[in-house]
Symmetry: C2
Subunit: 419 residues, 2 copies
């Protein structure tokens, strides 16, 4: 066994041991740890910023883009946001131990389902070091041990943050191994981690599509993920066009770099001539590049032609694909063919069309008359978000604390046997 | 692309298309198909039995064991059981479309979660051809398309059953591709199937540990499975010893060849001398071979010595490992170390021990004062069972119709945008 193999195995094994203890720690203790973490991240701000400077120097040396460097940088303001986020997690209700249902069988057995932690969660992510603290807090609150494998460009920042979090655990009597960082930047470490199904219960990859495909192809452990968000809005012929304009503008422009931003706009042919010129003007004013089908370009001469690959593109930028469709059938079929099961919205005043869209579009979040940007754990009221799933297994859509638990059967008997 | 690759891809693609239709078919139509299937399996009994004879001849030629041949044989009685099973599925309530929760956000958005089918389910199984009909019925009722890949030894029987089921679909206007059999016995077909994450949402392998490990190692599609059932009963010092005797006898002897049968008995040292001789006598009378720890063998001289591997063995036979433990801590630690997260039971009269066992044992089914044999979809009241999961993701324990669905977010707005 190589050193990396044995190191990773040791990390996973101690995480499994810690998880057995974590599963049975009371909420009050977990909240105390979280509040202590929140405080100590601020107290140890200088040490974290020093470590971050090392990462920043290396990043500049490697010529990383300004956007990447921005995301990597830990300022006092970033630290305050991280600290506040952890405090909020302390305020969320603890899902562990909840009995969600209980029923009686004809033979007198009382059968119930009780929420328990998943056990050990591996998070494989890129970029922002704030994920280190956010994910650790959510895993701890839901009674899970976590193994964090951040991007190589943030390794010093991640280790410094984790050290503070682990100290807070230790001071409250929680095993250090509740929160662990994979301390190497070798890719083999990830491959090794993905084999340890005996010790790790779930892998959540967060980052670009390449990273996520690598994880899915190599993991024996269940993976919850989304590859990308190709979100659609369909403006129906009955839509309130002012509302459509406001919502479509928000969904594309308010924050174009995130997975729940709209990437393709579908417009009913009967209102295209009225709607598209006004909508197009607003997009032009906001520097949004439009890529349209032939019919769109008949109406908006300045739109570029959309190629086949535009219909499945996740631009994450001020670019929008636009297609005029002849009816609802075509809109739904287009979404089924090119969509990513992430988030789709219809703008309509028609009752029957609204219900049909809700029923027939099988994405993880389906909206009527609202911006796709609401597909987010905080916005939907989950209290927090550990990620978004477009895999239908376990969780579908934004995931909060509940999605970090499973339910076991609990059975109260008085001597029943099977005949 | 080889012929197998393109055949399997075509099957999976047409399953995906069928699944989009199935997701929106009303319960009444689904029930009509199921009732028709149930009838036509009996009407076409001769054709199915003829196909089965081909399989039986081949099996005898290959020298399969009598037990294997018994499981493969389709008699009129087996057909009647299959037919009745499908009729029962028609009687179960349809989970699709249920809105399980709905809440309002401060901005007026009404957010809910709605049950929808998973989409396309691949079932990879060995042995009994009745799985073909059972699994097809459960998938259809929950609105899923299914791709069935049975064992090579049952290929003719499986194809004959599937033909009847597909005819029933066609007559009720449901696409044939709702139920498909992989028509080849090549193992490459399975490998190919496991790559098609674009078209298949979930794989459920059912069979021996070897088959299941092969599937987990090679699948890019989420897999729900259990490798084995190493189920324990812990007889606490406060146990009602008559109850303990009755339950421990039932858990081992009533049907030893199934995954929820007890494989290891843990006995508190303070009652071992009273309990083991009586219990041992009953096991001896039933030809159960005991393999004990040193202390067990001090009490039961006829017990064979247990080796380390006995503690993690799934015998599926009239063999039982027996260990005397010094207390509840040792019992729980033993289960955590050697158990399979399947099913464990405690026999006790002590309130606090019963609650502690329920809380601290993190298996998918945990019982107090009842036989492990109740860990079964029918027995727990799920109405049916598609399999048992010891993976904590998505489902944990016996899985019924609900576990063949996921929940999407549905959101009713009136023009909301994000600030």
């Amino acid at each position: 066994m190589s050193t990396i193999q044995s190191d990773i195995k040791q990390i996973a094994k101690s995480a499994r041991e810690a998880s057995l203890k974590l599963a049975n720690i009371n909420t009050g203790v977990k909240n105390n740890v979280l509040l202590r973490m929140s405080e100590e991240l601020l107290k140890n701000g200088n040490a974290i910023k020093e470590a971050n400077k090392k990462d920043l120097r290396a990043a500049k040396g490697k010529g990383l883009s300004k956007a990447m460097i921005d995301r990597l940088t830990i300022t006092d303001k970033v630290l305050k946001t991280i600290s506040d986020g952890i405090k909020e997690v302390a305020g969320l209700s603890d899902p562990v131990g909840e009995v969600t249902r209980m029923w009686k069988r004809p033979n007198g057995l009382l059968v119930g389902k009780m929420r328990i932690p998943l056990g050990v969660i591996g998070i494989i992510y890129e970029a922002r070091p704030n994920v280190t603290a956010d994910a650790a807090a959510l895993c701890l609150k839901s009674g899970n041990a976590v193994i964090l494998r951040g991007g190589s460009e943030a390794i010093n920042s991640n280790l410094a943050i984790a050290k503070v979090l682990q100290n807070a655990c230790r001071k409250e009597g929680i095993p250090d191994a509740a929160i662990q960082i994979v301390p190497t930047i070798e890719r083999d470490a990830v491959l090794e981690m993905l084999k340890l199904e005996e010790f790790i219960d779930l892998i959540i990859p967060r980052g670009g599509e390449g990273l996520i495909r690598f994880v899915v192809e190599n993991s024996r452990i269940p993976v919850i993920k989304h590859y990308k968000g190709v979100c659609h809005i369909f403006v129906d012929e009955s839509a309130d066009l002012d509302m459509a304009e406001k919502v479509c503008f928000n969904a594309k422009v308010q924050r174009p770099g995130v997975c729940n931003a709209m990437e393709t706009l579908l417009v009913h042919k009967n209102i295209a001539k009225e709607f598209l010129p006004k909508m197009g003007k607003r997009y032009q004013d906001a520097d949004v590049e439009l890529r349209g089908c032939a019919e769109t370009r008949n109406i908006l001469s300045y739109a570029k032609p959309a190629a086949e690959e535009d219909w499945s593109a996740e631009y994450l930028d001020l670019i929008l694909a636009v297609k005029v469709v002849k009816d609802m059938d075509e809109a739904i079929a287009h979404i089924a063919k090119y969509g990513s099961l992430h988030t789709e919205s219809i703008i309509t005043k028609d009752y029957s069309n609204s219900q049909r869209f809700l029923r027939e579009v099988n994405s993880s979040t389906v909206l009527i008359n609202a911006s796709t940007r609401f597909s987010d754990g905080f916005e939907l009221g989950l209290g927090a978000e550990i990620g978004i799933s477009t895999t239908k297994i376990h969780a579908f859509g934004p995931m909060g604390l509940l999605e970090l638990t499973t339910q076991k059967f609990i059975i109260y008997g008085d001597g029943q046997v099977r005949e």
